[in-house]
Symmetry: C2
Subunit: 263 residues, 2 copies
């Protein structure tokens, strides 16, 4: 086969990029995690597309049953076929099956939840998780988002990116964070150093004041997307010492074992 030539996007347009598809997907993304229903008006505002375009796209998506339409409120909502796609996505990650037992072992040994996540723009998305026997703590479901910029998970991911990809991501984060950026930036830079020096990243009372966590990235050799593993709990009960000298080694060990069995 033939590797795709680098396209010149800067000046001219990308002749192979299908705009209509991108727009439609942007519409699906417009829903927040809080499960609001959206009207055509909302879509137009959130995405900056013209009313007519939105109308046509929602019409199409509804016909394909990705959106369900409520005639009473004139609002749309994401429909079950969207969920199916998400499930196929999970099914297509052999890493999950391989990593799960290792995660489970750490969760049991530490009594804390352990999770695996991948990136989605400025978030990390949970791909799998094991609950620790102990905690009521931090019960995040598969599919849920946590911040890329300030969580241990996100920092571990950032730390393991190529320099240029990380630079691009950090630029996006800067846009997003506004005034917080200096603090956030320091956190990320610290994480990069921590990762290179010790192989893990922490976030103790930085994402949320009551949460302490550690995370380690994993790059599959076969080129499938990078993931990260985390483990953590209440910042009240977990000392920095405990996080760095007990939890962190368990996660680095998890990743080492995984590297031995994963492609």
């Amino acid at each position: 086969m033939r590797p795709r030539k680098e396209r010149d996007e800067d000046d001219g347009q990308d002749r192979d990029f299908v705009t209509a598809l991108a727009r439609g997907l942007e519409l699906l993304r417009a829903f927040g995690r809080e499960g609001e229903s959206l009207g055509n008006r909302d879509f137009a505002e959130r995405t900056g597309m013209s009313k007519s375009t939105v109308s046509r796209l929602t019409y199409t998506l509804q016909k394909l049953e990705y959106l369900s339409y409520n005639p009473d409120t004139a609002r749309y909502q994401l429909a079950p076929p969207v969920l199916s796609l998400g499930f196929s996505c999970l099914a297509g990650m052999p890493l999950r099956q391989l990593a799960n037992p290792l995660m489970q072992a750490v969760a049991e040994a530490t009594t804390l939840p352990v999770a695996m996540a991948g990136r989605d723009r400025l978030s990390m998305v949970y791909l799998d998780r094991c609950r620790g026997t102990n905690a009521v703590a931090l019960n995040i479901e598969v599919g849920a988002h946590i911040k890329l910029a300030t969580t241990a998970m996100g920092r571990a991911y950032l730390a393991a990116m190529d320099d240029d990809a990380r630079a691009a991501a950090m630029e996006d984060i800067r846009q997003d964070e506004g005034a917080n950026w200096p603090v956030v930036q320091r956190g990320i830079e610290g994480a990069v150093e921590s990762y290179h020096a010790r192989g893990f990243c922490t976030s103790i009372a930085e994402w949320r004041p009551d949460v302490a966590a550690v995370a380690v990235p994993f790059k599959p050799r076969d080129g499938s997307p990078m993931v990260a593993f985390n483990c953590g709990g209440s910042a009240q009960t977990l000392t920095r010492d405990h996080v760095e000298n007990d939890l962190a080694p368990r996660l680095t060990d998890l990743v080492r074992r995984l590297a031995a069995i994963a492609p």
Copy 2:
């Protein structure tokens, strides 16, 4: 606002239907539940689109990060953002939060798993589920599919559809089932009767020889998509009498209570 005029799709084309979007989504759907990776060739075969079209669409989807590309194998795989969409879909279903406690109560009373599902083409997709304390039985995850045509869940859904929608669905099922159709058809017709007479549908050793289940549909008054609830387990331990006279009333009761608190 203004209700959308009925389009004439039969003869001319639908001027408002965005083909490129539909095609791109069809590509995402092409992945089976078994988590294969697909190359452009596979997409072209499965969807019947031309090679060039597939190439452009996969390029676009990859750029949007819905597909991850493995340069070694030249195969694509669904990426985390797809999972995010699925999660937003769940978040947007208030019914889940309302129904969950009721489902939990039935699961505990019967020691059997109870689930809620919506439709996706010829499948029912699990939207939520509660495990019964008892069984190792039938542990299906959220997002998973079961057959529309032969499960209790699917039959309950079919039974509660409008006559014309059901007719359309049955036509699709007929296409899909081939030689089995006569048996399947009788099952569905029996389910429709059962639903009208008693308010529930069963499938005992019909979907799989070792599974017995009962299901009840629920139509939200606010126009959001219909769902169904099921409950079941091993056909060895569950008698028809038990299913119809113990489990079924619990589910119809669940739906009655839900109707009282849901929109």
